[in-house]
Symmetry: C2
């Protein structure tokens, strides 16, 4: 039942803690316990931790751990929560390994890597990508455990996702539109019929078709659209892109994602009402069926830094409307990360 704490760590000779509960790492005939494990087992009354002759109280051990381990308070909160949910958890340096229910270290492979993140800490996209790459290599799922101010924990799974659709490819009809300020307008019937009803571009407002700048740049890049301004002057693709850049900070990034998704034959519409750049459909049969999109896609830059609050807001909103939240970025190659809340 006992453990000892020394300069080198916390040791126990009770190997059963490992064999039955998956606690500690075995080293010869001893067990090395992490601080999370020791505080938890002490709290549960399953061990006492002696320093020399004297047993430490839970508070003393907790304070000792806080001095030794960065962010121990929140790491412990997550460790404890996962244990209480019946998972076997192995403490690493920066994170935890989580075993599937009923699994144990040495018996089953771990299923998840759990990163513990304080609500206050930001997560650079670079860091998330790096963790996702590690997880892909070692075939684990990645869980972000975000701990809020009240030490309440929300779990998110982050994963790479491939987006591919089944919309029919564009035909080679050409159209003539007007660029008026920040949108492109068509009055001709054919544009509404084909661009809107067949390929789901833009929105029809009383027989006038309005399409967005990214849609217009896409159509121009395919050679399917010519544009003029209110004075009848022709607008080139370069000029349209310049206009886009003036109007939107990340126009290029946004357009690249739009193009990639359209080229992958998805239908892409504005996600404004849902606070994201795009809502994305895998397949649309007819414009009347454009009622439920599968994904919300938000475009971020390669140097983006996530704030847990922003993440929480976006994911919660997406789930509230039964959509998956996807963040898109990249230069050249497009990459998509889906983040969803999970109940462990």
């Amino acid at each position: 039942m006992n453990a000892v704490i020394t300069e080198e760590g916390i040791f126990s000779e009770n190997i059963e803690l490992h064999n039955r509960g998956g606690y500690g790492r075995k080293e010869k005939s001893k067990l090395i316990l992490s601080f999370e494990e020791a505080v938890y087992l002490l709290e549960k009354g399953r061990i006492e931790v002696f320093e020399g002759e004297r047993p430490l109280s839970r508070e003393e051990l907790f304070l000792r751990a806080s001095k030794t381990i960065k962010d121990f308070e929140i790491k412990y909160a997550v460790y404890r929560d996962l244990r209480e949910r019946g998972y076997c958890v192995q403490s690493g340096i920066a994170d935890f390994r989580l075993y599937p229910r009923g699994g144990k270290p040495g018996k089953t492979p771990s299923e998840y890597i759990v990163l513990v993140i304080s609500e206050r800490r930001s997560i650079p996209l670079e860091e998330l990508v790096e963790k996702l790459e590690i997880c892909r290599r070692i075939k684990k799922k990645l869980i972000l455990a975000i701990v809020d101010e009240e030490t309440d924990i929300t779990y998110y799974e982050a994963k790479w996702v491939d987006l591919k659709g089944e919309t029919s490819e564009l035909s080679d009809e050409r159209f003539q539109g007007y660029l008026l300020n920040d949108r492109v307008i068509f009055w001709e019937e054919g544009a509404s019929e084909i661009l809107h009803r067949r390929y789901f571009f833009g929105e029809l407002v009383n027989s006038t078709l309005y399409i967005s700048l990214v849609e217009a740049v896409y159509l121009m890049s395919k050679g399917l659209l010519t544009l003029q301004d209110a004075d009848g002057r022709e607008i080139s693709e370069e000029e349209l892109i310049r206009r886009g850049r003036e109007l939107e900070e990340n126009f290029d990034e946004k357009f690249e994602v739009y193009r990639d998704l359209r080229d992958k034959r998805m239908v892409v519409k504005t996600g404004f009402k849902f606070g994201a750049h795009f809502r994305v459909y895998e397949k649309v049969e007819s414009i009347e069926e454009l009622y439920h999109s599968k994904y919300l896609v938000h475009v971020i830059r390669r140097d983006h830094v996530f704030y847990p609050q922003e993440l929480s807001r976006a994911v919660r909103l997406a789930h509230g409307v039964r959509k998956s939240m996807v963040f898109a970025f990249g230069n050249g190659e497009r990459r998509y990360i889906e983040i969803r809340r999970v109940r462990l």
Copy 2:
């Protein structure tokens, strides 16, 4: 049935358009029509617009308007939408005045000022405050009509809101806590009993009470809390505030709002799960009843600039959980703006 367009504007002699439909401004025996009104009436086949001998087509008039009026495309979209919903709308320079259903200029006072905003345009808080002040002075409600890329329109009402609660005032018990990294922890029973169960501070995780830094600063500022770190060293209020500033960018602003709301006897808890700084309760009977907060409060700086997308995301999320979205700011005097989606 006819109108003429000249350098000076669009004129009609059909006074009935004004008397019956509230179109145009009367000037002597003539009616001056705005471009929105003229395009709309032309589209509806109720007038023809002549330039000299020649009637203009809808497209010609629309393009002429686009050249003359900034953002005409989206202003017209909103004008048209409001008219189609049966409202009488008067065109101003930067906005519209909206009459209650059945009301007309000259007969009833207008009820709303409608600001038309492109999804792409940002709205500085200063500008919103200025408009709200004008509206307060002239006793109108303020509507933001946000037009997305697809020319779909969402209406929001913005208004000043007073927040006042009915929680009992703090008693003068004093507590001793530990500052561990970014949170304050109590192991003594009394703290859990009184701070948590009676005054709803923090969160209880297995008989350990965790409170946030803003809560701790508040209690210290009232002289009700002393703190030590893991080494037993005493922490002053100034040091705690410094820690807060290190950890959070807008700690001071956030604390000032927290203090104001607590002083107004509301219960204030983290709003992390909802992507806002705080969730706020007017009245809480017992900690078990802490299930539905009325408001989500997000703290912004005086120089904040709203992006329509951010606004849309926050308000939609708040409504999804049946809460009101409130933005808080100020220096010295706290001010609260509630923004909610309205269906006109």
